[in-house]
């Protein structure tokens, strides 16, 4: 007999209770409905407390001292590295480099891996990328004479992996694409990307900024070489993030930033490099923030992320349905991205004919709803749609039906005034 499946309902109110900011009253009276999680997620009490406790009890610089605090701080910092490694299912802890965030991680690869490229080599990106996975490569192109090529985007707002055969040639050394789009929420077909890269011996970098807040990632199963993430999008502090790199790949790269901690020996003429990950962590790292990121990962590990995903997908469905019913003959609402929750995350961008995203967002702010409007650092993609910007609602596991209803009611009100 099959074992009965135990369905544990996701207790969103218990989760919400752990986020002090969700009790905020805006403008002195309106409850906060935070739907800007793709930009920055909120922080639970456990993380706030871990950050405070670190600075109150273990604050010291890492690696340099032998005194008790220095050792405690180093232990805490390295424990955070272990947690990131676990979250990503990295083979080894030394594959985790702390950075300032996703942007820092991608710039690190664009410089360190970029230094190994020769004029005429190619890097393949897509038309859906966040500027942080585009501009570093443009800078590299201008510096090193490499060529950039771009995968297209399907009608549905997904990276068009059908372009891979045509774009990935023997000259391709790296494919760098987003794991989950911060505009359309679409999940990239990573397997197809990795297959194409392997046939020509190219590396693969995934921008995981939007993925890492939705439960553990398995970089080994994904088969990629680099993975970038930001703490502040996964319930941790700002100012820190991580690059995961396959050990043998990282170990083959020269440093990017120079300074303390990343060297083995230094003379006035010459230095030799430390092993990974220290080679890529010049200077004092964001220690407290890394500890906070570790606490955020611990916190996430204590949540049933599968149940949370079902919960947020339900809410996202409710938004998609709501947008459909708010639209009509004289209110043209266009959802940018997949129209169902299949193979996507709860990031929903939409455009309303005749209503500017900033007006929509400002009016919704009056209803306590935090929404984002603009090009979401994906200007080329918006250009391709013929739009200057979109409005975006993005969900995290602490959002509830009340948030969605406040959003839909507020939007109805805003559109009544604006269109």
């Amino acid at each position: 007999m099959n074992k009965p499946v135990r369905v544990v309902p996701f207790d969103v109110e218990a989760v919400r209770a752990q986020f002090p900011i969700l009790r905020t009253l805006l403008h002195g009276k309106v409850p906060l409905h935070y739907l800007d999680n793709a930009a920055t997620a909120q922080v639970p009490e456990a993380v706030l407390e871990a950050v405070r406790a670190h600075d109150a009890l273990r604050r010291a610089n890492v690696k340099r001292g032998v005194h008790a605090l220095a050792e405690a701080a180093t232990d805490a910092y390295e424990a955070a590295r272990r947690k990131v490694a676990q979250h990503l299912n990295a083979r080894e802890e030394r594959e985790i480099v702390f950075t300032s965030g996703t942007t820092g991680a991608i710039n690190l690869v664009a410089n360190a891996f970029g230094a190994t490229l020769k004029p005429g080599d190619e890097v393949v990106l897509s038309g859906l990328e966040h500027h942080s996975n585009l501009v570093p490569w443009q800078l590299l192109r201008d510096r090193a004479g490499i060529k950039l090529r771009f995968l297209g985007v399907t009608e549905e707002g997904r990276i068009d992996t059908g372009d891979l055969d045509e774009l990935v040639s023997e000259r391709c050394k790296l494919i760098a694409v987003t794991h989950v789009s911060n505009v359309t929420g679409a999940i990239t077909d990573v397997a197809a990307v990795v297959r194409a890269a392997r046939t020509v011996g190219a590396r693969v970098l995934l921008d995981g900024a939007q993925r890492a807040s939705h439960g553990p990632v398995d970089v080994q199963a994904l088969g990629v070489d680099f993975y970038a993430l930001s703490s502040h999008k996964m319930f941790g502090p700002t100012g820190v993030g991580a690059l995961w790199g396959r050990a043998e790949v990282l170990a083959s790269l020269p440093p990017f930033l120079g300074g303390g901690e990343m060297i083995r020996t230094v003379t006035l003429e010459k230095s030799t490099w430390a092993d990974i990950p220290a080679r890529f962590e010049a200077g004092t790292p964001p220690i407290t923030q890394a500890v906070g990121l570790g606490a955020a990962i611990d916190w996430q590990a204590g949540v049933d992320t599968a149940a949370a995903a079902v919960h947020t997908a339900h809410l996202a469905d409710r938004i998609l349905d709501g947008l459909r019913s708010l639209g009509g003959a004289n209110r043209r609402i266009r959802v940018i991205g997949p129209q169902t929750m299949e193979r996507r995350f709860p990031v929903i961008a939409f455009a309303v004919e005749g209503a500017h995203p900033h007006d929509i967002c400002q009016m919704l702010d009056g209803h306590g709803v935090a929404l984002r409007g603009g090009h979401h650092c994906a200007q080329p993609f918006h250009d391709s749609l013929g739009l200057a910007g979109t409005s975006r609602a993005s969900l995290a596991l602490y959002n509830n039906a009340g948030d969605v209803d406040a959003f839909l009611t507020g939007l109805d009100d805003a559109l009544t005034k604006l269109t």
């Binding site: 403008h27 309106v30 500017h356 995203p357 900033h358 007006d359 400002q362 009016m363 009056g366 209803h367 409007g373 603009g374 090009h375 200007q379 918006h382 200057a388 910007g389 005034k417 604006l418």
Partner: protein, 138 residues
């Protein structure tokens, strides 16, 4: 709640005075707000002694930006770059220092007084001025 979107602002935006391209433009300038991707184009027809005869604007932007362009559309004729600069400075002072609204013909700009409390939106109101001043300049 929506103090920014008082009916006056919405009305100004809807009136869109001066919207459209000028067939006989002396000069046309487009400016962008890199933060939000908004784009304003002002065409100007300049007369003798560098005074504006007519303007036409194309706004890809929010209601505040449209309303501001509409005010310019209604009052720009007869101004030159320097006098528009002075108007912009008093508008800026209203938004940033709580100074009183400009007097005289440009008093309508007082409609934007509630924007003062929303720093991120100041540029929305100022962008059309940037465009028309550049267009009217040398």
């Amino acid at each position: 709640m929506d103090t920014l979107y008082k009916t006056d602002v919405l009305r100004l935006a809807a009136q869109a005075t001066g919207a459209g391209k000028l067939a006989d433009a002396t000069k046309s300038v487009t400016v962008d707000n890199p933060l939000c991707g908004d784009r304003v184009t002002f065409d100007v027809h300049m007369g003798a002694n560098s005074k504006i005869v007519a303007v036409g604007h194309t706004v890809k932007g929010c209601v505040l930006c449209q309303a501001s362009a509409s005010v310019i559309g209604a009052h720009a004729a007869g101004e030159d770059a320097a006098s528009l600069e002075a108007v912009r400075e008093s508008l800026k002072a209203m938004l940033k220092q709580g100074a009183p609204a400009p007097a005289g013909a440009w008093a309508t700009l007082g409609t934007f007084a509630p924007v003062a409390g929303h720093k991120s939106r100041h540029e929305c109101v100022l962008l059309p001025f940037e465009a028309v001043i550049q267009a009217a300049g040398k």
